[in-house]
Symmetry: C2
Subunit: 537 residues, 2 copies
């Protein structure tokens, strides 16, 4: 409830979207990083006309509903990323901003020109991944990021002052962000709008708008009450709160004029979208196939399989060396590969030859230096993949997959089409000692539902193209697939759905969610899915 005014401003005044075309490629992205406030987003999706119904809201947090406890991408139209584990949405947005900027550089402003908005909470900013992501975003000057920090000073255990004294302004300015401290403006719609509009106009630096809010507002009983985090209000408290707002004590009461107002707001981006379609068609003249391949992160053309390297018996390259050459072969056929690593680019074979570093001054480069920030790198990959238009690849040592594990799990859960390259499996790092000895990591990663874990044994298994019988049949030999899990729930899919043709492209040690020419394997948790018929752009 406390964030309703902010959501109102975002969805009726600031965000550039068209609820009738929720997958419009040039829409602004909105992330609710504090995913536990999901009802806020569902209410907005209903009001703005994304297809959610009042019945869906009535089924909030029920098994199989379109309104699960935390927002899930691919499950509910209008949800851009799966959030809930704190800090992830914050870092996903950084990946989206990377994708947006990369697309803009490649296709021009007529094709790609939007912003990434997020609401982030005290908890998001306490998590370490927020540091990694914010520091990276500040370094790269990702000006399309506009985050609102919902500073409600409340955590589950009590006031945040139990554990948190950070000077958020100082912290984010130290990262090079543009920071606006709105103070206690959680009811001041115009102040919020002005701050957000100013933040959108700042294109050299990411923006953080800090807004003091009061959890439970306007409930007289639960104002600033930690219990409001997860408490289902009782009938009296609900009646009280509604009385304060001048509403009748009727469940799911939505006045017609309010609904009409929001539905109108949900369509106010339509002219912009239609205009974009025209400009886009002109700008993409002669590049339609490239654009289509870009959006699907697929190879352009048909003869690309032949371009993948194969290795003869005498070659015996280290798999990470083979991976480097395979990755570069892929880079020559798939538009928009984003290479990168957590400061181990050479070691993990994740260097793209045909591009330069993505930096503030060279945003057209496609080689990202994530720094020693494995967690944010993983989350950025998820965000970039879900944004679309890029095929993000990351590298670090296998043992450090632990640092990025929460992001990897969400990649699998979200069906994000991204590639985690992890090199230096157990054999051969003995001198570095047990801290660098990933004895348990492959098995541990294979336990993550929906994650495709490949551990090639030689160069041709990395390439997947050289000597594989699969090349002829278009099937993946089952003995070579290290892990290809079925979903726990939902329909079984035939092998050819998951791997329509053999995977050609792979990895030093492992490639996850890797399937160049089919949809990324998606783990469908629930059997009942609604409202998500269109593919994600």
């Amino acid at each position: 409830m406390a964030l309703a005014p902010l959501a109102h401003v975002l969805f009726t005044r600031v965000l550039r979207y068209d609820a009738t075309a929720p997958h419009w490629a040039d829409r602004d992205r909105f992330i609710l990083s504090c995913g536990h406030a999901s009802i806020l987003q569902y209410a907005m999706l209903y009001l703005a006309g994304y297809g959610l119904t009042l019945d869906d809201l009535r089924e909030f947090r029920q098994w199989g509903s379109s309104t699960p406890g935390h927002p899930e991408v691919g499950h509910t139209v209008g949800i851009e990323v799966t959030t809930g584990p704190l800090g992830q949405g914050f870092a996903n947005g950084v990946g989206m901003a990377l994708a947006e900027q990369s697309l803009r550089e490649r296709f021009g402003q007529d094709v790609c020109d939007h912003h990434i908005h997020a609401i982030v909470s005290d908890g998001d900013l306490e998590e370490g991944v927020s540091h990694e992501a914010a520091s990276l975003a500040g370094h790269l000057g990702l000006g399309r990021l506009v985050y609102v920090y919902d500073q409600n000073h409340i955590s589950i255990d009590g006031p945040t002052e139990l554990a948190l004294d950070d000077d958020a302004v100082g912290r984010f300015e130290a990262y090079g962000w543009h920071v606006t401290d709105l103070g206690d403006a959680s009811e001041d719609l115009d102040a919020m709008e002005a701050a957000l509009v100013a933040a959108r106009a700042e294109h050299e630096r990411p923006s953080l708008v800090i807004m003091r809010s009061h959890i439970g507002y306007p409930s007289p009983t639960h104002l600033d009450d930690p219990a409001a985090h997860g408490l289902a209000f009782d009938a009296t408290t609900i009646a009280e709160a509604k009385a304060v707002m001048g509403m009748p004590d009727e469940p799911f009461w939505v006045p017609d004029d309010v609904l009409a107002y929001y539905r109108e707001a949900g369509r106010r981006g339509t002219p912009a979208r239609l205009d974009w379609e025209q400009r886009c068609a002109a700008a993409l003249s002669g590049r339609a196939a490239e654009w289509e391949a870009t959006l699907a992160s697929r190879p352009l053309g048909d003869d690309w399989v032949q371009t993948l390297p194969s290795f003869s018996e005498g070659d015996s390259p280290a798999t990470r060396v083979a991976s480097q050459s395979v990755l570069n072969a892929v880079d020559r056929v798939v538009p928009g590969v984003l290479g990168g690593s957590a400061d181990l680019t050479g070691n993990t074979g994740t260097k793209l030859s045909d591009t330069t570093a993505f930096q503030r001054s060279t945003p057209g480069g496609r080689q990202i230096h994530y720094g020693i920030r494995e967690h944010a790198m993983g989350s950025a990959l998820v965000g970039a993949a879900l944004h679309g238009g890029v095929l993000p690849v990351s590298g670090t040592f296998l043992v450090f997959s632990d640092y990025m594990r929460p992001a990897v799990r969400l990649a699998a859960l979200s069906g994000a089409k991204c590639v985690f390259v992890w090199s230096h499996d157990s054999v051969g790092v003995g001198e570095d000692g047990p801290t660098h000895q990933p004895v348990e990591h492959i098995m541990s990663l294979r336990l993550i539902p929906g994650l495709t874990v490949l551990r090639p044994a030689d160069g041709n298994e990395v390439s997947g193209g050289g000597s594989w019988p699969s090349r002829a049949t278009g099937r993946l030999p089952s003995s070579r697939v290290a892990s290809r899990r079925r979903p726990l729930k939902g329909p079984r899919r035939s092998r050819s759905t998951v791997w329509p043709r053999a995977p050609t492209c792979s990895t030093p040690t492992m490639i996850l969610s890797w399937c160049l020419w089919g949809p990324a394997p998606r783990w469908r948790w629930r059997s009942k899915r609604r409202g998500c018929s269109a593919p994600m752009a």
Copy 2:
């Protein structure tokens, strides 16, 4: 080499230690968070007289040596924590400072009054766990922390400017730290000493001394060269560097007077230690048994098993509720239990009834509000346990064990006696959706070598005391032990070594490294161990 002057200042002028009694409980702790610079620490341990020999240094990075690639606690005397995975040492120190302060409050300044020093690198500060730990330390005002930030502007991929622009002064001031920017003072011994002494005198805030250094210094060839990170210099380069320093080109050359100087420095803490022993004996008058139990994190007295709760068939408490009462029973018999959680204290049953919150104004409290910082919480537990004098317990949801996994792995590897409580296993969180559904986590944790994972099925299995046959025999029934791994290397130990008596005390969902009355099970990676005959205090 670049950090040799700093190490010289630390080990000959600043640190309060006695190399002849490396386990002296009131010694300053020194952490090399950038563990890949391990040779620096080994050289100091040799020079100061901790027992390492020139032969040990000759075996640097060799299998089975006392000088492995990254420092390992329990393996080499003088190493306080196992480092290498970046950021961990930074956060371990915060746990040590918690333990130090808690001990000081309980036994007084005559018994406990020391500092926690660390050298942290660019990479440590890029990692998210450094944010969580620094923010917590600033909030709690852990003034005994004195860290030096070795700002060498070099990472493996090249200059840190590829990925990092943070204003470190602004960032740490935003956390409430006392920050000194020394500038390019990596050869100015007196400036370093003055800054460190001033930082030690600041007891209200943790301190960060920022020092610009130059990797590879004084090698003319490899100055500021990223390759210096891991490069073995060739003979010419070595000769060049030695010529610059006025040293003969002779391997492992240590002049007698230099060695004598350092050995003297290594003993300069002896009078302080002897004085401490006297003061300590007086201060502990009548509390010797408590002190002994404190150092071993064991129960005081013999009849404590009877005080553990047992549950009758009708009780059926949730295991996290049972855990809460078991934990409080343990708290009444084990001195120095440090409770805490990542903002889920009630939910995970990690609330201690007989104490208050540990805060800046109430440092005698033993309930720590770690904030939503699972990773730093895990690392702090490791540091606190290795410091000694406390039995640290943490709580969060099982699914968020992913966030703290690098720390949990190091807890197991280090044999740190700490307890991770993870509640809310898969059944029952369905409404929160798959982000909160830990379907793979128990199996995944059981893969970590050296980690004891218990998943009790009811209140009595939590207590371990009620109806267990083990109570009579003092043995843990093997069918109840979820995971009790043997070390991969090293001698097999009989069950009675690992579990001298039945574990009595346990957990909502799981307890790791939990063994109240025996040494924590330690995973001995190497079969050859030297120089570590004394137990860690």
